[in-house]
Amino acid sequence: MNTNRFLAVAVLALAVSACGGRSNTLPATETVDDVPPGTAAEAGRSGAGASAGRAGSAIPDDRLDQETRALLDDQVIYFEFDSSEVQPRFTDVLGAHARNLATNPRLEVRLEGHADERGSREYNIGLGERRAQAVRRILLIQGASAGQITTVSYGEERPAQRGSTESAYARNRRVEIVYQD
């Protein structure tokens, strides 16, 4: 238990330092158009289990420039309500991941699609899959190969943030790009 907590704190600290000024403690607010956080909060919660190492494993090549490295650190794509359209603000991030996959053919990613808690669970599994597929298509178009990408949809089953606020919903409608070991 202590070890896990220490690990979580360590990962958190790492994430904060990697992301410069971004705060990772973002309290839940009621603001509807609150822009969901980037990597910091996401990395902070992945302290153990299957997702351990999510924060640091995306950079196999230390010759990458600073900017690419920052883009690759961004591993969560957020979506609007009831939408699987990838917003233009994620173009650069997905471009960096696609290039990373294209230049490193042995890398593999799992795209984990998620939905907010509203509506029925299995339909939300469908929505999460649709989002994961939207991200997959963009990665494929930009040079990743099909064998490098698997998708899984967790629907509303693994919320990044609990609670029934608009800001929690905004954080939960997402696709996580998980690099495989």
Binding site: S120, R121, Y123, G126, R130, T151, V152, S153
Partner: protein, 432 residues
Amino acid sequence: MKRALILIALLACAGVARAELTIEITQGAGQAVPVAVVPFGWESPGEAPLDVAAVIGADLARSGRFEPLERRDMLARPTRGVEIDFDDWRMVGTDLIVVGRLVREAEDDYTIEFQLFDILRSEQLVGYRMPASKRGLRLAAHRAADMIYEEITGIPGVFSTRIAYITAEGDEPDRRVYRLIVSDADGANQYTIVESAQPLMSPAWSPDGRRIAYVSFEGNRSAVWVQTLRTGNRQRLSREEGINGAPVWSPDGRRIALTLSGADGNPDIWVMAVATGQKRRLTTNPAIDTEAAWAPDGESIYFTSDRSGGPQIYRVDVEGGAASRVTFEGRYNARPRISPDGSKLAVVHDDRGNYRIAVYDLENDLFQVLSDGRLDESPDFAPNGATLIYATRQGDRGVLATVSVDGTVKQRLASSGGDVREPVWSPFRRDF
């Protein structure tokens, strides 16, 4: 509307499942029948292994259609019909009286005897003897309540049936524990069927009540499993790329309809033979087609599809062909379940921004919203078709609730810990 508030703390099987379910009647029927369930006689040495009358009384109270007399208001404690003084009980204002005895025949061999009398007519309505083992006593008491309920209402009782549901405990997203739990319909006798650090979803009873199909995300991908309750043996039915979800059984128990999305990510309804795994695609629409519900006659499948934009319910012949749209009320109707007689369709419905349980009367084209929560989901019919169980919220927590199909009787099954959701009601029990 009369508001009966009864709290019954139920004994959970200690150490088996931590979260207890507590039943709270939030809305009773307008005219509950007053009934006296007199404590059962017990003549063997030591304490009786079960308070049979308490179980029967709690069942009847929980239905919302009966109002059991408090024990302190009972004038006498008859245990046989011949001991009842009907004039006395008439004065108390009780319409019905249940008397009985629990008898130990041998070490693990008991008999429950009970009689139901109409007090106004001084007439026996039901009299029955049931053998039971010590472990089977609670079930036998539920059976007695089923018979009493059916005698008075004309509807088979479901007190002896079971429910299955999913729980999730732990606030840290990566440290949650998911369980598939089976309990008696009153929340007692909980036991864990599956426990996992990855999500579990969509339990579905086989028509004979012996197996449960469910979705598990172990290994970071979805798979549909079929597990035999008695043995714990489990069979992996499907673990394709993409979605493996929403399993439901055919009425004959030989096939399972499920959702598969394949590598191209297009969720469609498939039908799979349980014994061989041989499968056939039923829908091909590029939209999300999911949440199959098999009609009781076995010939058609209802499902959710957003081919028209938002999710609505469609129906397709099991042998294939074009799907026809069934629901048109509002912008969101999903997760259909069909009543045992095939006449009603329960769905999750967007009611002015609130997700609620609604029922369509397919024969009369009527539509009624039955629940009043904000995030209600996963409705399922009791095997007698009279009640729906569903998932709702109490504060920040997922809890289970039931509502009679006419909307009059409502109750909540509050849990002591974690989220409780995705309840499914077992078929009638045949293992007696």
